[in-house]
């Protein structure tokens, strides 16, 4: 392992690997360290969706610009990341939700996004297996350019491209400590040896909090266990991801044919527990067969857990912290780190390479939690 680098990235999820690739492409000497294997955290457990329909402007912008990059990514990285745009159908259940949906759509359209409000009878034109009465929908919003990609393939493709540009990626490598002097990052101490560097990016998912504590910095992150399931493979039934903010459910059919989806258990509390629960299977099966009754004949193959690293406003923490020079955050994704990873790594690359910040990045720094006007992202599922 190298003992010196321009940048050390902690965490081998999609954001860490994407950033390693972009920095290496700019000619920087990058070392990435990952405690387990690539995509072993939230990336590898995620629902693979890519959505641009958000309630806050930052999240919508991050996602819209990310989709533009996802469209080119298989070509750019030279590996198929299985990106497909089947759209996202968001069920709307009552007047209050419709008011918010209209507000969201107006904001999203002002950013150039094509998104429509559907009447109840138009819902099955998009996803034929849905039971509009069963799901108690009075309408829906639909954005046809939302979609999916394969999170493992995306992460591995970024990592392969980063390696071929000279980045060093060390899996099964644990960060033990961060050393600073004069309030600036100096050394990353790992179980394979120390690495001297001026820039550390904390992209360690739910472990980001523990990493920050090594330099006595508190991150407002709470881990939430999320459960998700996959069925057996079926012929292609529908292309859109179906979600509901009210019921918390999301599900879609993947390229290989399996239906993948999740729902929160109402009584779930924050914490580091990982065991899957039978309660989830009951609640998911109930809700899913209420939305799409035909699925009652389909076998569920497996279910697993992953974590959302949730911030108080459900938006990520990005950029350099005021307290320690060279200590950058890339965490707090609150369940949507995969879908905005292209733009997140772009913003951080601009900051690291050119010292260039942006309004978007400024609005997402740790410092925002010191103020009182935090705008919370409302469009969260799972």
């Amino acid at each position: 392992m190298k003992s010196k680098a321009d940048v050390v990235i902690i965490g081998g999820g999609v954001n860490g690997c994407s950033l390693a690739y972009k920095l290496a492409k700019k000619g920087l000497d990058v070392v990435l360290v990952e405690k387990k294997y690539l995509s072993s955290g939230a990336t590898g457990a995620c629902g693979a969706g890519i959505r641009q329909q958000w309630s806050t402007r930052e999240n919508a912008l991050l996602a819209i610009k990310s989709v533009k990059m996802f469209e080119q990514l298989s070509h750019e990285l030279g590996q198929d990341i299985e990106f497909r745009q089947g759209g996202y159908l968001i069920a709307v259940h009552d007047k209050k939700e419709m008011d918010q949906a209209e507000k969201n759509v107006t904001m999203q359209r002002s950013l150039g996004l094509k998104v429509d409000i559907l009447k109840p009878e138009e819902i099955t034109d998009v996803v034929p297996i849905l039971d509009v009465q069963g799901m108690k929908a009075i309408g829906a919003t639909f954005c046809p350019t939302d979609g999916h990609a394969n999170p493992f393939r995306t992460t591995f493709a970024y990592a392969d491209a980063a390696r071929s540009l000279g980045a060093e990626i060390n899996t099964h490598t644990m960060v033990l400590n961060l050393k600073t002097s004069k309030k600036a990052i100096r050394t990353v101490v790992t179980d394979k040896g120390p690495i001297q560097t001026d820039v550390v990016v904390n992209a360690a998912g739910i472990d980001s909090k523990a990493i920050a504590e090594m330099v006595h910095l508190k991150l407002p992150l709470i881990p939430f266990r999320k459960e998700i399931m996959a069925t057996e493979r079926l012929q292609s039934l529908f292309e859109a991801m179906v979600i509901s903010f009210k019921d918390g459910i999301y599900f879609s059919q993947q390229k290989e044919g399996q239906i993948v989806g999740g729902i929160p258990i109402p009584e779930e509390k924050g914490g580091y527990k990982t065991m899957p629960t039978f309660r989830f299977l009951e609640h998911m099966a109930h809700t899913l067969t209420r939305y799409a009754p035909v699925l009652k004949h389909v076998n569920l193959l497996r279910h697993w857990t992953g974590f959302y690293d949730v911030t108080p406003d459900a938006r990520p923490i990005l950029g350099e912290v005021k307290e320690i020079k060279g200590f950058l955050q890339c965490n707090g994704f609150s369940g949507h780190g995969f879908m905005i990873s292209p733009m997140v790594s772009e913003l951080l690359t601009n900051l690291i390479v050119d010292g260039k910040t942006s309004e978007m990045l400024e609005n997402l720094t740790l410092d925002r939690f010191k103020g009182n006007n935090i705008e919370k992202e409302l469009s969260v599922v799972g």
């Binding site: 099966a285 076998n299 569920l300």
Partner: protein
Amino acid sequence: MKRSIVCRCEDISEEDVIQAIEEGYTDIEELRKKLRIGMGPCQGRVCIQIVARILEKKTGRKVANIPLPTVRPPLIPVSLGTLASEKDEK
């Protein structure tokens, strides 16, 4: 050409596994995510032991020291209708 199938659910051969190991995927979980082994209806009952032996041959690590993938319930496929027949307690 002779092709030994390792994973029947996802149609993965011994050669596919060896190639992935040579590309640097030397963990069963990594191979699983790369090749989808163990993600089909058998949930790894057929393939994982074989993959562990290939890993032993290629890397020299003993099978006993190769961690198995996390068990993901249920043990056998269950229909969503059966699961939904339980009461959904609030």
